[in-house]
Symmetry: C2
Subunit: 217 residues, 2 copies
């Protein structure tokens, strides 16, 4: 169709100068991440994102195949980053309790620095799209495996008592998420990690009130 698409405005404003190199893509990711963290996937339109970046909608499609793809790329980027930080830490040969504490610290620190994206990543929107579901599941499983490794190491070392690492890893995973999201505090990542670690390691029971007593309830 050879229709002229010129509008009333007739080339209203001059083009903004081109942005460096791959900066556009990064710009779009940042803006989209912010929006996705504020509203749900479906409530963020491609027009919203375009407006926030200050480009036309078509531009976004020069860098991403689809909305789903953009969403997935945001998650992937962040995921890779935190996971590599964590795996670098666990590769060290610290004793298990210290290792766990450090990992918690790194997670809380990363979270504090990446509130927006983490909020998306941890969202339980397991039904959005198939890829998203698979992605978050993969991520969850990998994190839980990481915890399990540390726990197993601790049990072997004798620093942790013997328990089912599967359930315990799940517990740690869930509790970390909850603290990340809902714990309002001015404290540093390290001191939050410290507090959380202390609860995980010692439990809630008073030393006087011992297992024997609790067991026959």
């Amino acid at each position: 169709m050879a229709k002229t698409r010129k509008s009333i405005k007739e080339q209203a404003h001059a083009h903004r100068g081109q942005i460096p190199k791959g900066a556009r893509k990064e710009e779009i990711i940042r803006a989209a991440a912010k929006l996705f963290s504020q509203k749900s996937y479906h409530d963020v339109t491609m027009d919203d994102i375009a407006e926030k970046v200050g480009v036309a909608k078509g531009t976004i499609y020069l860098y991403f195949d689809s909305k789903e793809n953009l969403y997935l790329e945001i998650m992937e980027e962040t995921y890779e980053e935190i996971e590599s930080i964590l795996e670098r830490e666990t590769a060290k040969s610290d004793p298990a309790p210290l290792k766990l504490k450090k990992v918690l610290g790194l997670i809380f620190k990363f979270y504090l620095q990446n509130l927006d994206v983490l909020r998306i990543l941890s969202r339980d929107e397991t039904h959005l799209i198939r890829e998203h579901y698979e992605f978050t599941e993969h991520w969850r499983l990998r994190r839980i495996k990481l915890y399990e490794k540390i726990l197993e190491k601790g049990i072997n070392e004798g620093s942790f008592r013997p328990f089912k690492t599967e359930l315990t890893a799940l517990i740690i995973f869930g509790l970390v998420r909850s603290v990340m999201f809902y714990y309002k505090s001015e404290k540093s990542a390290e001191s939050i990690a410290e507090e959380v670690f202390s609860m995980i390691s010692e439990g809630i029971l008073a030393p006087g009130y011992e297992k024997a007593e609790a067991a026959r309830m």
Copy 2:
């Protein structure tokens, strides 16, 4: 517009007879709950729900003002039920540890019986609609308050060591959610509660490996 809406089919099938009284509404809620638990809010259409119930879409609007409203009513119903069960339990004068264990048991039991709706309720779709956000926040806060009460009681009784109840309640909240969702097990609600309670109360550290050691890490 006084246009005739008759289609080619021309009254294809006979109407199903009317259903008892308020049974229709309950039917719709159940069908919708099932669908919402399988797909996200936006991916479930009113046509889907109508089809699943076996009525026309218009019928749903005889019982609910809007899709949002239907969604909210599902949540409200379930929420009221579990919360009243929990509050009946906490009103008893059991010692705190037993009380906590019982509450965990009831939550897991209720969850096992109401997988569909709980999956919706605990979903972190905090941005769907304003009412939904307020609703889930209200629910979370109330549950956390419930944990806090039990924890405070335990500290006063001397059965729990003194810790920050706010953070600990948040931890329990998160860990329960995680276990509910992801713990694949054939065990009964009681025995899951037992396992979880044991982790919460005793922690992960081996008795030999004591605080002193952990503290100077």
